[in-house]
């Protein structure tokens, strides 16, 4: 009787397991990519708050996340994330030649807020809104985030939105 060495056998890994994306909005077609897509939504998600200020926001003015001007309090983002996009919109076109720049700040505990490097968005002269995209700015664990107008121009009825993805 001839020896039997068995059939060809090939193991499965997540990348070789098919994933049906026809019912869920995913773009992935296999499990590995689907899990990674669930962890890092391609467009990012926005935290459950925005920065805004009704009326004028002069140079150095902090925007609010509620009733409080966040010059000495901020809004918490849990875990480790990346800021991927910052949007700002106002009700009046910029008239200052230098435009107006929004700067995000952060603190942990009761420390002083400090600028987050690169976390800015600038409305140029003559425009009323701006978007800073393609960012990958790391946010530390449990940072409080605040936001203020660097200037040189003033802003009117500014609204600032953030988009983040988990690290």
């Amino acid at each position: 009787m001839p020896k039997s060495s068995g059939p060809v056998f090939k193991s499965s890994v997540a990348r070789t397991v098919p994933f049906d994306n026809s019912t869920n909005g995913f773009t992935a077609t296999e499990v590995q990519t689907a899990i990674e897509e669930a962890k890092n939504p391609p467009s990012g998600v926005t935290p459950a708050f925005i920065f805004s200020k009704s009326g004028g926001a002069g140079v150095g003015a902090y925007l609010k996340t509620g009733e409080v001007l966040t010059s000495n309090t901020g809004q918490l983002i849990r875990g480790l994330n990346y800021i991927t996009e910052i949007d700002v919109s106002t009700s009046v076109n910029q008239t200052n030649a230098g435009g107006a720049t929004i700067q995000l700040q952060r603190r942990t505990g009761l420390n002083t807020f400090v600028d987050i490097a690169g976390a800015t968005v600038k409305i140029p002269n003559g425009s009323f809104r701006a978007t800073n995209t393609g960012l990958s700015i790391a946010i530390g664990i449990n940072w409080e985030i605040s936001c203020y107008n660097v200037g040189p121009g003033n802003m009117s009825d500014a609204v600032v939105s953030l988009f983040v993805v988990p690290q």
Binding site: M1, S5, P7, V8, S11, R15
Partner: protein, 102 residues
């Protein structure tokens, strides 16, 4: 019940040899074997991709287009004897662990 051969061994298991070792895979094909030659009376071969690059396996002349793919940490077990099985990457390098059984 399996037949016994003249040595008293069962015919449905292999007991004549078992070797294992790494093979470095590049964009030029290389035979998946342990050492300089195939195990004598080889009956089975397994290839496990321990690298991050995809590895493609097949007969001599294999390419990333004609070969079957092994993803990272994936393995294949082939009931193959004295016939060469070759591996190649599309780009980059990978290390596979090759085991031969006789």
């Amino acid at each position: 019940m399996s037949d016994l051969n003249n040595s008293g061994e069962y015919d449905d298991v292999m007991g004549d040899g078992y070797i294992s070792g790494p093979v470095s895979v590049t964009t030029s094909q290389i035979e998946a074997k342990v050492g300089g030659s195939r195990l004598t009376n080889r009956e089975a071969l397994t290839i496990t991709n321990k690298g991050t690059a995809k590895v493609y396996y097949g007969p001599t002349g294999v390419t990333s287009t004609t070969g079957d793919v092994l993803e990272k940490d994936q393995f294949v077990s082939l009931p193959i004897g004295d016939i060469g099985v070759f591996v190649i990457t599309a780009s980059g390098t990978a290390t596979v662990i090759v085991q031969e059984m006789a």
